[in-house]
């Protein structure tokens, strides 16, 4: 029995609950492992992502040749390319998520804090944007303005900020009603100070959940674009591009598809699992049954 259970601070309780979710913890471990491999892996392999091994074009995975995942149709080692691709996919995931976080948190906090007419207008805009088929517009952007990697970051980031804006606004409204914020206002604290000191720290939990759930969405969007041939340009590669190449050859050289596909699926799976676990851990606090 966890004797500390009822007396620990809220943050400790959440952490305890998360630790108890074994699936989520395993997912965290896997992600950490993948991130580390993606970063240092390519240096450890004798092969490089671009160098062509003319003696082993489109060869099957084998330990003897050193190509543990096989090679692609140009003779490049798939293991290294998969790790490179993971690195790029994760990087885009992180950066685009931060972009949407930046936009969304500020937008939502401002709307929620000032309330009234400002809030109504800002949320109306969000409603309108929500209904639009963003994916199509991103594709349009790619078509019209070229496949610049910065454009990709910003375009993808701009898709996802709506959700976090809504959530942050809701939280801000709730926190605003709390007594201690009233007290701060009576004492003459400025708007920005209140936002920074009282509201933002309470948003931390929600924001963390959001980050873990958005990263896979972003990676998915980027993979989608790359799959269609509209994303990352050669020689850089991402998991989506790798899957695309692999899909073309899957009838005869199925390994070209399978390895990147597994990596992609595992990354997405793990992030979703962690996000879910975090959300559950944060939520139980509010839905405890009452004894009477």
């Amino acid at each position: 029995m966890n004797s500390q259970g009822l007396f620990a601070s809220p943050r400790q309780q959440v952490w305890e609950r998360l630790k108890g979710n074994r699936a989520a913890m395993i997912a965290v471990a896997i992600i950490l492992f993948l991130v580390v491999s993606a970063i240092i892996g390519p240096w450890l392999s004798p092969f490089s992502a671009e160098v062509i091994d003319y003696e082993a074009i489109a060869s099957e995975p084998s330990f003897t040749s050193g190509h543990v995942f096989g090679t692609d149709s140009l003779g490049r080692d798939i293991f290294v390319r998969t790790l490179e691709g993971s690195r790029i996919s994760l990087a885009i995931g992180l950066v685009a998520t931060l972009v949407s976080l930046l936009i969304g948190v500020n937008y939502g906090a401002i709307a929620g804090y000032f309330g009234g007419r400002i809030d109504a207008v800002m949320m109306r805009i969000v409603d309108i944007l929500y209904a639009m088929p963003f994916m199509f517009f991103v594709i349009l952007l790619m078509v019209f303005f070229g496949r610049n990697i910065f454009l990709i970051f910003i375009a993808i980031g701009a898709i996802n900020w709506l959700d976090i804006a809504r959530i942050v606004r809701g939280q801000t409204l709730a926190i605003k009603q709390q007594a201690y914020v009233e007290a701060a206002r009576i004492y003459g604290a400025g708007h920005w100070k209140i936002i920074r000191k009282h509201i933002v720290p309470n948003l931390l939990g929600i924001v963390v959940v959001y980050i873990t759930l958005t990263i896979p969405q972003v990676i998915l969007v980027e993979s989608f674009l790359s799959f269609l041939g509209l994303g990352i340009q050669e020689p850089m590669t991402s998991l989506g591009a790798l899957v695309s190449e692999g899909a073309n050859e899957m009838e005869t050289h199925s390994w070209m598809l399978i390895f990147p596909a597994i990596f992609l699926a595992v990354i997405l799976f793990c992030f979703n699992f962690i996000g879910d676990g975090l959300r559950d851990a944060l939520d139980t606090k509010q839905t405890e049954k009452q004894a009477s």
Binding site: F136, F144, F224, F227, L230, M250, L268, F269
Partner: protein, 311 residues
Amino acid sequence: MLDYFIRRLLGAIPTIFIIIFISFFLIRLAPGGPFDFDRSLAPEIQANLNAKYHLDEPVYVQFGYYLKDIVRGDFGPSFQYKNYTVTELIVQGFPVSMQLGLSAIILALLLGCSAGIFAAYKQNSRFDYLVMAISMTGISIPNFVMAPLLILLFAIALSIFPAGGWNDGAFQNQVLPIITLALPQIAYIARITRGSMIEVLRTSYIRTAFSKGLPTVYILTRHALKPTLLPVISYLGPAIAGLITGSVVVEQIYGIPGLGRYFVQGALNRDYTLVMGVAVFYGMLIIVLNLLVDILYGWLDPQIRIRSKQA
């Protein structure tokens, strides 16, 4: 009810307007696009373009013409398929996509709701964990990964279904595409239904129903089902958007001549008008369908239905 409907309708119009507005400006701003006059053109061609697109008149007038054309259903000629207008291509491709999409959403609703309801009723059982795990997979594995895997398994290894092609809508050709399209939606709907039902089963009014000695099946269908399904109906809007986005990939991989594939081909071949036309078309479609979903929701929820009658 009418009041609710009108308010929703009025809300939808600005959105459609903005979509058309954005398309208009994107196509004019695109570097290397049909309206990029950095490269100089032969005078007759320039004159033709000026006449057709009213380029010598102010921008807002041009926008007016554009708007008028769209209202008449004219999206302009396709750049890529020289003998066709965009509208003709849409008319050709959309019914195919719609067939797949409709089948997929029906499949998703049937499977997703049943799985979710059952998982909620047997919460924390092995079936429940299974449903949650499978749905997590459905959400995490992108359709462009799932499709090749399905093809690998069912078409190549087991040879049950063809690996692609439309074959005029033959049944076997539809199976894998529909499943691929439906999978993520089945997953989302199952999760939403499960979460919703768990919450509903915890409510005070369900406890009241049990306390009256009513049979369990009756309580599940008569008392619990409707409140459980309302969030699912809300989800239909995003679900449709998801299906439309998914169709782009699914049609590409399975070689299905639907609107999604036209869109991708257009994107890769820089067919500006086609790409714009499809985006605007799908945009409007999504908005209209969202409107219908909203109205359906309003009709089902007594508080909304009756309150607006009285208003």
